[in-house]
Symmetry: C2
Subunit: 356 residues, 2 copies
């Protein structure tokens, strides 16, 4: 039976990407070897890194004032690397606390300076995105989390900021257009919209690199990675290759404007059903609803198990909500087809008919 | 034409591993999904991590006094994490400088304390392993590099040390038995003998974790990774899976004693030819010759290009020596079959017949 993969991440990838990745594990690019065994110094892999980098630029629509790095360690490593690279000794950075991951970013920043929390929705279990706060102009940067995977909230408009924005876009990077000019640093683990787990995409304004003036271990220094084209040491070859394939696919889909339409359309189908169906309800402020992670609860808690069972029977996988929210979470990243969202909606309707 | 992959790393993997990895990119473990899209919190992936961890213990023959972690960032990240986790403020660590990678490890350690270099073979372009040095008993640890990929030297006997040994085993871990009792910390990027690039295997004595008493960023703290079973954040799922497959294969080969025999046999065939063939010569002290990376030069520099051409014509790939040594380097890791080494030796003989 066909599975509909609503997992929050690692998450569904385009079928064509998985097919091509599978083939490359046997034979890559006519080399007579597997992508798993080739040198990262080969011209064939150089071409992979270059194409991935150029595609990040091209799809994002920005020039070489920004560096594109492919690192490892996930966004959690960037929580530390951002202040290590951008925050001078004694300076402060501004943070908005919109969830567990934002909190973790704040915790790491405190090891390197002052982290001023401008606003938090923690008391409401992060069910909305705080919007009215002043951004101190003496902060080194403003740190935001654009999409909160666990709670299903998303920042639909970035604030005007007097200081560069540093943004964890792990769960919505390249799911919609964004104006990179506002940002000093953007980072995302690949495993939502940009590939398989194991590589982290970093976009950083070149003139901010080295800003902290700290003496950093080599691997934590953006400067070194820029100078070495993300190949100071062996990069995560296969993960970077899968990211390149995913970026190619994204370009073929028409880029960010086209994928945004696709994502809006999918999310509308699902949120409309949540609002219309008496057996379900959303969990977050309507204006902050995420186009990536759609969280909802059964209006009757007893319905949780039987609905999950009916969904499973329809091939739906990965919709169990995070323990801190409960209920259900349907993650509908770029590669999620509308037809799979429709299957979920159909099950919700069928469930309501049987139990309503 | 069949390729014989002598690449220094990423390097040849067992054919069965690449085949199984390829299949898992389409369908993993009967889940109806690809390994690239499944949650790292799924019970199926939990089983992968657990099996990999247990295999590291079982094949290495050590118990739970040692933790096994699967991290990212390669050995270069461990160059910093070792002192960050094990070296107290004001303490010193002892290092032996056996190559570029050892030098890089020394550089990182200096950011966190005193790094005393006990011995170095730099003046001889690292063509031997220094052996006569005193290990200070007040050092926090002794850092060694067990195999020097670039130069083709290998430590065939670890010194008796009054302090725990920290060892970068990136290019020979699990190519031979070793007694873990002497070690405080062992680390290796997977991409030589243990899988594909993207995951780093760390073995650390549990009672040394937290020794430095430093307040570390979460992702740089062994304690946090131990507490979270290497899944504090999303691990490099696919790379860890390939490592598990490679460890399974290694166990099937008979484990470390058996693979050592296999490796000794392959290396002997090649070194014997280098010593017997008048057109080639070895580059390092005979007693320090690596079983993993066999470096050799043409006795006549003019022979370099034509030999390379003849080797290529025979399907031999990746034998160009590192620029700092020149000539040729045949990397013959665990997965390299003896038949491929024989192809190389045959070409060397044929070349000597034609040009001798």
């Amino acid at each position: 039976m066909k599975k509909h993969n609503f997992s929050a991440g690692p998450a569904i990838l385009p079928q064509s990407v998985m097919q091509e990745a599978s083939e490359a594990c046997i034979e890559f690019n006519g080399m007579g070897m597997s992508i798993l065994e080739i040198s990262h110094r080969s011209k064939q892999f150089d071409a992979v890194e270059l194409e991935a980098r150029q595609l990040v630029h091209e799809i994002g629509g920005f020039d070489d004032r920004f560096a594109v790095l492919f690192l490892s360690g996930g966004a959690s490593t960037q929580f530390a690397l951002a202040p290590m690279n951008l925050l001078k000794e004694g300076e402060k950075a501004a943070y908005v606390d919109t969830g567990v991951w934002a909190s973790k970013a704040i915790k790491e920043a405190k090891l390197f300076g002052k982290a001023e929390v401008l606003a938090s929705s923690k008391d409401s279990n992060y069910s909305f995105i705080p919007k009215s706060y002043d951004i101190p102009s003496d902060a080194a940067y403003l740190h935001l989390t654009s999409n909160n995977t666990i709670y299903g909230t998303q920042l639909h408009e970035f604030p005007k900021s007097p200081v560069p924005i540093v943004c964890d876009m792990s769960s919505d990077m390249y799911s919609r257009p964004f104006d990179v000019e506002q940002f000093g640093l953007v980072y995302a683990g690949a495993q939502k919209n940009l590939g398989a787990a194991g590589v982290t995409i970093v976009i950083v304004r070149k003139d901010l690199i080295g800003r902290s003036e700290r003496q950093l271990p080599s691997m934590f220094d953006y400067k070194l990675h820029l100078e070495n084209g993300s190949m100071y040491n062996t990069p995560p070859v296969f993960s970077l290759y899968v990211t390149m394939l995913t970026l190619r696919w994204l370009k073929e889909q028409g880029g960010l404007a086209a994928i945004q339409k696709h994502n809006e359309s999918k999310a509308a189908i699902l949120y409309n059903e949540i609002d219309a169906n008496p057996l379900f309800k959303g969990t977050v402020a309507v204006e902050d609803r995420s186009l990536m992670n759609v969280c909802f609860l059964p209006t009757n808690a007893d319905h949780e198990a039987p609905f999950m069972e009916m969904a499973k029977a329809a091939g739906i996988d990965g919709i169990k909500g995070h323990r801190s929210v409960g209920g259900f979470r349907a993650s509908i990243y770029n590669a999620m087809p509308q037809s799979s969202v429709q299957v979920l909606v159909d099950v919700m309707r069928e469930f309501a008919q049987k139990n309503g």
